[in-house]
Structure formats: C-alpha cells, structure tokens
Symmetry: C2
Subunit: 439 residues, 2 copies
C-alpha cells in the first residue's frame, strides 16, 4: 500500500530555531521517522512525502532514512507550504492511483490504528478517516484539535470550531484518488484545506468515519511534545511479563534513565553489557568479604538490575529491537545471576566453610537457572501453560531474585537469603513441572 | 479421507498359536495399530477394517483402540477370509463413495508414503498404487512380493511371478469406488484377488503407478518381522541432533535396551525419572570420596546417560511422544548435569579445599547450563543459526559432557576434567554468542 505524508508546514509553535518540525526528535527519533516506522509496521510500502519549509533538510534526512530502512521514499515539493495543507495533498496528484494512506508528519499513532483502515474496501469515490471516539482523551489539545461529528459510520461534519461533535480527527486517512477532485473543487470555492475537501465528500456521503480508541497524538507545541514523550514512556511499562519488583521499582526508574539514554549514540547491546559488568563487579565485591563491600555490591547489583531494563526500553523507543538483542540479554542475565549467587556463596564460605553453605549456594544457583530454563524452553507451549497458571503477584523472575540478593546484602543476612532463593526457586520449578504435566 | 484396511487373513507363516496376525506386536505395538497410526499421521480420518480369522479378537482390540485414539473404526466381517483377498475389499462396497485409502494390516509404511497418494486427484474410474521403485530393496522378500511393471506412470502389469518388472506392490492404494466393479468383474472371470482387479483396471489404463522410495515392509513371517523390528530400531538413530558420543556409543546400546523396554508397561517419563535417579546416585557417590565410589559413580553416570536415550526411543516406538515428555526430560537432564558436576567439585574440595577448585566447579556448572540454555532459548531462530554453523564432530552436548565426567572418574583425574568442562562449555557458549550476533 502506498502512503503519503504531509511534512511541509513550519510548525512555528514547536520550533525556536530554524529547524524543521518533521525532524524534531521525540525520545531520540525524529517525528517523521516515527510516522514512517509506524506506517511500515502497518504494512505501508511506498512513501510520498510532501516537503516545504526547510525542505532540503528534510529531503536529505529522508534520503538517508530510505537507505537505512531499504524502502522507497519520494519527496514532493510544495513551495506554498505557508498556505493551507490541502495544497500539499494536491502535490501527489498523478502519483497515486489506488487507495492510499494519508498521514501527517506530526501525528504519532499506534500501527494498529492504521491497520484498521488498511483492511477497508473503498469505492472509487470514497475516503475514510480514523476518528478518535474518546472525547475525553487527555492527550488531545481541545483548543487546536479538528472535531468530527460521526453518524452511521460516516462523517457528518468536520471542523475545528464544531460545537456538536463525537470524535476527533486523528490525521490518519485512507483515500481513493477522489480526494484530489474534492480538493480542486474546495479550492475553487476558496477553501484549500484538507478539511474542506473532506466536507465536500462528506456531503455526498462518501467520507467514512472509523471510530478508534488506539493511541495517537498531534505534536504541535512543547506541551504536546512532552505529553507525547510521557505517553511513549508509559507504554514501556505495559510489558506483560514484568515481575512485581520490575513493575513497581525497576521500571519507573529505568524508564527515566532510558528517556535520557535515547539521546546518546548508545546501543541496547552496549547497555546490556554495561549492566552485566556491573553485576560482575557486584559479585566480586561480595566475594571480597566485609560488610562495606557486601553493601556496595548489593546496591550495585540492584542498580545493574534496573539498568538491565533500559536495553529493551531504548531498543523499543529507537526501533532497535532485534532477536539477537533479546537473546543476548537473556544469556548475559543468566551469567550475571550465577555470578551474583556464587559471590554470595563465596562470601558465606569465607565466614563459615562448611558443606551446608556450599550445598545451599549450589541449590540457589541451579534453582535460578531452572526457573529461567523452564520459562524459556519450548518457547510456545510450555511457557504459555506456565504463564497461564501464573499468579502474577508471586511471579519469581530475575527482578525478585536480584532484589532478594540486594536485601540480603544490605541487611547482612546473606546465608538466609541464599536459603530462601534455593528453596523458592526450586519449589517454583517443581510447581512448573506439575503445571506443565497437568495442562 | 476414509481408509480401508484388510485384516482378515490368517497369516499362518507368522503365527504359531491361535493368535491373530494383525495383533502381533512389533516392538510393543500390534501391527494393525502401527498401520492405523501411520495412516492417521497421513491425515486419514475414518477407518473400515475388514476382519476374518480370529475376527472377534481383532474387533475387541479395534474397539478399545478407537476409544483410546478418539477415532471412528468400523469393523466389517469377511467370513471367506481363507479365500482371495479381493473378497475382503468387496465387503466395503456401499460404505465408501469417494476416493479412499486401501491398506493391508500387515504392511508397515512411512506416513509420507501415504501422503504422496492422498495429494493425487483421481477420476471416478481410476486407482493409484504406491510402487517401490527400488528393485534391490533388502527389506523385500523376493519369493513372496507382488511385482509391478510400470510404464508412463501407469501399471502395465502386476503379479507375483512377473519376470519383467521395475517395482514392488507396497500394498498402499488410493482407490475410487471403481475398484469394486473391477473386483466383481475379475471374480466373474474366476480370479477374486485384488491383483486381478488391478490388472483389469490397468488394461484400461486406469491404474496409476506412483513410484516411491519411502520405507515400507510386508510382515509375513518371523524373518520379515525381525527385519521390520531392526528397521524401526535403525530409524531411531536418525536423530539429527545426536552428538558424537550419543551417535556412536549411547544410541546403539540404548536402542537395544529400548527393544526390550517396549514390551513392558513402562512410560517414557518413568524411564526419564529412573535415569535421573541414577545420576543423583552417581553424584552422591562422587561426593562420598575415594576411588571406588568415584569409579562406581562414573560408570553409573554413563549408564544413566545411555538410559536417558531410551525415554525418547520408547516414546517414538510406542507412539507415546508428548511435548511434556520432551520438556520434562530436558529439565531433569539439567538438574542431573548440575548435580554430577557438583558431586565432582565436592570430591575435589574434599581432597584439596581451595578457591580455584570451587571456581572451576562453578564455571563447569554454569558453562554446562549455558550450553543447554543457548541451544533452547528462542527455539527457532537462534537454535537454527547455531545449529547451521555447528561442526557436528565438535558438538558439545550432554552426551559429551557426561562421557567426560565418566572418563574423569574412571581415570581418577577429576579436577582436570572439571577444568576441561569449564573451559570448553564456556568457550562454546561464547562462540554461539558470536555466531548468533553475526548471523
């Protein structure tokens, strides 16, 4: 599916210096790149981007982006970028024959929102607009948003000043080329805005309204930019398999760290490595002996566990997720866990060298391993069975394990914590075997 | 697809006592059950089985089997079971309208052989026979097999005495109901054999010959029964992910063990548990100290590793494979590996309690774990990448690990073996990380 993006306007409310609005970074990634990435995820394939203000800068960026993502992006120049946005849409006339996606460079959205549109079948006369049906959406700037009145699945009216409305224009359209004719007509009537053309089609009953409650946001000024960043960061917490410590302690802190990390040229795998090295250092401090080293090691281990959340967060925020990255992180985590527990065991053995301590340390290490192994082995079936049965509050993941280690170090109760980990991890593994068997 | 199976004959060459031939067990599973299981795997759905000699016994077995597998099996009685086999086929007339599979209760075959037939499209006049094109097939009894002459994808002639032939009748047919008319006609000519009817259809060009080289065998006498058992056992060795020790030492022995185990009411999971308990005992013997205990433990560990192959073999031979079984076995193996290495570490520490021994033991345990973890984590992608790059001769799996432990125990060189395992397992893990990254 072809996709047209309007990126010609100046966006003076957002910019201080002479930068281009489509290139304003949100958590390390320019607005227009976020729009293109989301469209790609929704299976858009060929892009036409209308540029205007600071067009050369945008064109250069798009050229590099096209190369980086191995996609086709055609820039179309609109010198009348300071006039109504319908003129930008008209620049694509002749390029687009079949139904195409029409997006705004400054409207971020969830790929699922676009996917709802791409499954529609339009007649040659029709367009469709995704309409946010949540009229209380806190992400919407009520003073600036284009309001929509929907009736029977069609747009009844659309305009900024609308008093009677039941939705908001998300800026995400699926258009047949009929949009161009409507634009010409509206322009003849003296209204060159896109909304003007939509009103003409709506009057003929040719403008479908597709209600949605998916995430979207119009990034127009510093306030909405902040809201957008906050929304993107909040969405990082929606990871279903976060344990209790990750959810309530690690994730809020790591999200704040990630917010800054995205602005540097640091890869997720480098973050994984950094967290791993911190864990190794912590293990070394444990083995060193003495309360000060133990305490420092405990804090460092918990810090490493928090940083360990950043690799995935930065990857998701900057579209750098990779299957290797997830795998590599898991492998490092297993080594880190084992070294931390070995460090604690060493610490205990130095104080009291006996077989029970050794056996307990061994059981803690093997139990931790088995917990990860049973969760990951046979990705689909067994993991699903185990997850389906899991009481989330009691979920014993890495977050809980490291937090226990941290507590043991801080409280100087190392051996009791080893015992707890050894018992809990192995009992939980046994429970998983039972679940997997009975399922 | 409907499936008809001829199970009426006496099979006097195979039976001593008054048993029924379809119920003769091959490696713990009756012939007819093997045929039905293979047909099920090839997507057959509804079964009609013609019974005759000792019919009541067969009927009772089929009733229980239908319940056990939750499938429909309709028995059809042929009282003329001592006459030509075409009469058995005629018993199904009226029951079968669409193209159906026609199988023999005493012909074992690979499901893929049937699948080749089920993808064919037949006219209402046609039948198709899977013809073994390997005229040197050592599993074929040249004195008894029905020979086939194929020409241009059709059966030119078919008969036991054929001098000019280029294939063998596998006993696996796909038939349109035209087979019944041909049987009536052949019967009228005084030949009630299935081959007679096939010859009539062949003369009209209505008998397709589908050449195959898939496994099949006609179990007719004690010799062919032995050949069939041997062939089934040999096929156990085709496991692609067997390491060198498994392939050349463990598997040949475990296959012989499995050959006997299938005759008892022992489940694969019970075998896994037994092997695990042996490993635990071996670990305990290691920890006990002294060369005699060490040696005994080493032998026991290797024995457990061999027995560990039997669970999967028995499961495959008796159609008892389950995803839980494979997962459970893997979980037990990880515990067993860890305990064996912990036992060896304990053994060394008792002789010489120092930190290097402890660290080496720890690294051996963690390395072994990581090797299993990296292979299993993300079942598809990473495992495939790692497997694709793997030099099979150097593959470091559980078989090699336990064999090293065995060698260390026997030679009383425990610490050097711990060092080797610690180094090799962790270096191999590192290598896998490199491969996964570069792929």
């Amino acid at each position: 599916m072809q996709c047209m993006i309007i990126a010609a306007g100046k966006g003076s409310r957002l910019l201080q210096r002479g930068d281009s609005k489509p290139l304003v970074p949100i958590l390390g990634v320019p607005l227009i790149e976020r729009v293109i990435r989301a469209a790609l995820e929704a299976k858009a394939e060929e892009f036409y981007v209308v540029i205007g203000y600071q067009g050369e800068q945008v064109r250069l960026f798009l050229e590099r982006l096209a190369e980086r993502l191995a996609i086709r992006i055609t820039p179309l120049v609109n010198d009348d970028w300071d006039k109504d946005n319908g003129l930008s849409v008209l620049k694509a006339q002749g390029h687009l024959q079949d139904p195409f996606l029409l997006l705004m460079a400054d409207h971020l959205f969830e790929p699922s929102l676009v996917r709802t549109l791409t499954t529609l079948t339009l007649t040659r006369e029709e367009i469709a607009l995704a309409v946010d049906s949540d009229t209380g959406n806190p992400l919407v700037d009520m003073g600036d948003v284009t309001r929509v009145k929907m009736e029977d699945g069609k747009i009844h009216d659309i305009s900024k000043g609308l008093a009677d409305f039941n939705g908001f224009d998300t800026g995400v359209f699926l258009c047949s080329p009929a949009i161009f004719k409507a634009l010409e007509q509206s322009k003849g009537n003296g209204d060159s805005s896109l909304s003007g053309a939509v009103r003409i089609l709506a009057a003929k009953g040719h403008a479908k309204a597709i209600p949605t409650s998916d995430f979207w946001i119009d990034v127009d000024d510093p306030q909405s930019l902040q809201r957008a960043e906050k929304a993107l960061l909040n969405r990082l917490r929606d990871k279903a398999n976060d344990g209790p410590v990750a959810r309530h302690l690690n994730r809020p802190i790591s999200a704040q760290l990630s917010r800054h990390l995205v602005n540097f040229d640091i890869t997720p795998n480098q973050i994984s490595m950094f967290s791993f090295v911190c864990s190794l250092l912590a293990a070394g401090l444990f083995a060193l002996g003495g309360y000060v080293a133990l305490l420092t090691g405990g804090v460092l281990a918990q810090f490493a566990s928090i940083v360990d959340g950043c690799d995935g967060e930065v990857a998701r925020l900057k579209y750098q997720s990779s299957r290797f990255g997830g795998w590599f992180d898991a492998v490092l985590d297993r080594y880190a866990d084992a070294f931390l527990l070995f460090g604690l065991t060493w610490h205990c053995l130095a104080e009291q060298a006996n077989g029970w301590v050794l056996l307990t340390g061994f059981m803690a290490i093997i139990g931790s391993f088995m917990l990860s192994y049973t969760a990951d082995k046979y990705d689909n079936l067994m993991r699903d069975r185990i997850a389906a049965s899991g009481n989330v509050a009691l979920r014993m993941g890495r977050d809980v394990r490291v937090f226990l280690i941290f507590l043991g170090a801080v409280s100087n109760l190392v051996f009791p914590v080893l015992v707890v980990i050894a018992v809990v991890m192995n009992v939980e593994t046994l429970r998983r075997v039972m679940i997997a068997r009975d399922a």
